[in-house]
């Protein structure tokens, strides 16, 4: 038994469009996404080229999409997907501390970061982590840093503090609300990692900070880290005209498949991905 027919990873226009179309086709679907109010589109003052809604703001558009998806039987899971693994005739998806089994996956993760910080991949799993929920306990009583590229990085920092870690939260802008007393705050934009077999030092701008662990909280996890066997070119997921990837049962739509980064293109691709995914699970 599967938890859902299909999970859509990402709650922007491509993901919402995919989920609505899946629900309309009678498939059980869930969306896993961060809070969409953190997205670049949400902050856009005007969108002038989306057909039928000239001058609408990004916030209005995304709020409308969120309401629309809620009117369908689609579960929204506010959690970042960390890993997708093929098992048997389906997939397992891990989001935060939850795990779901599904028949097919639609990746709509948005524009993905392509450049890693110097030393990041070298120390991944040797001091660098993307998941405080998973790895925080291994750093109890030790010195950790959280690089917060999303406002909800505060939650990760607070959680590490509660576990018993020493925590410094580093973000490019002013500290957001909700930081617990005990979490140190630092402003920083440039990061690099160094050490020996394990991570020892985080360089923030020009300052060296001795650390045991660093947790990076980004808008999305790079697609080939989500699924190591996924075919990716120049940081974009490779798809065909049916939005199929190189892995049967995995589809992708929207900005994560490449330019142009446009709402109409994303929602169109989301629909195609939904139709392809629906027919894939019907064929199985």
């Amino acid at each position: 038994m599967f938890d859902y027919d299909i999970v859509v990873v990402g709650g922007g226009p491509a993901g919402i469009s995919a989920a609505i179309n899946l629900a309309a086709k009678g498939k059980s679907a869930a969306i896993c996404s961060n809070n969409y109010a953190e997205s670049a589109l949400y902050k856009a003052k005007r969108v002038d080229n989306y057909p039928g809604l000239p001058g609408i703001s990004g916030a209005q558009l995304l709020d409308g999409m969120a309401r629309q998806v809620q009117s369908f039987d689609v579960k929204t899971i506010r959690s970042q997907v960390l890993s997708v693994a093929e098992i048997g005739d389906g997939f397992y998806i891990s989001a935060g501390s939850e795990v779901f089994s599904v028949k097919a996956v639609i990746l709509a993760t948005g524009v993905v970061q392509t450049a890693f910080y110097p030393g990041e991949t070298q120390y991944l799993g040797r001091g660098v982590s993307y998941c405080a929920t998973c790895d925080g306990m291994l750093y109890r009583g030790r010195k950790t840093a959280v690089i917060g590229l999303r406002n909800d990085a505060v939650e990760e920092a607070n959680q590490l503090l509660e576990i018993g870690c020493e925590v410094v939260l580093i973000m490019p802008n002013d500290p957001p609300e909700g930081i617990k007393p005990g979490v140190e705050f630092l402003r920083g934009r440039k990061f690099a990692f160094s050490g020996d077999e394990v991570l020892r030092t985080l360089t923030v701008d020009d300052e060296n900070i001795p650390v045991d662990g660093v947790f990076i909280v980004r808008a999305s996890v790079a697609p080939d880290l989500l699924m190591p066997e996924l075919s990716v070119k120049d940081g974009y997921i490779v798809v065909n005209e049916k939005m199929e990837t190189n892995i049967a049962g995995v589809f992708a739509a929207g900005d994560c498949t490449g330019r142009p980064y446009q709402i109409s293109k994303a929602s169109g691709q989301g629909q195609v991905a939904a139709f392809s995914a629906a027919s894939y699970i019907e064929r199985k």
Partner: protein, 103 residues
């Protein structure tokens, strides 16, 4: 059915001493670890005659986790005659673990 052996500080060295042993460092609060468990179950069925499949709960066996520098879970390490031969951090496809055992 091939069993996955739960290792502790007491049984670890004796278990990895001879042959090929795959050890999964995990914890029950880790989502990706729960995802990996069925992958390794399936693989242990297939390769149970080539390797011993074992696991270490890092919450209960912190010394073992520290000894092998485990700082991200799941981490899978393959030992051959007591010597670490390969490791993999995070959830990988079954093929990757299979290769670590057969290489």
């Amino acid at each position: 059915m091939a069993q996955i052996v739960n290792l502790t500080q007491k049984t670890f060295d004796e278990t990895i001493k001879t042959g090929t042993v795959l050890v999964d460092f995990w914890a029950d609060w880790c989502g990706p670890c729960r995802m990996l468990a069925p992958v390794l179950d399936e693989l242990s069925e297939k390769l149970g005659d080539k390797a011993v499949f074992a696991k270490v709960n890092v919450d209960e066996e912190r010394e073992l986790a520290q000894r092998f520098g485990v700082s991200s879970i799941p981490t899978v390490i393959v030992f051959k005659n007591g010597v670490k031969k390969a490791d993999a951090i995070g959830v990988k496809p079954a093929r990757a673990y299979e290769q670590m055992i057969t290489d």
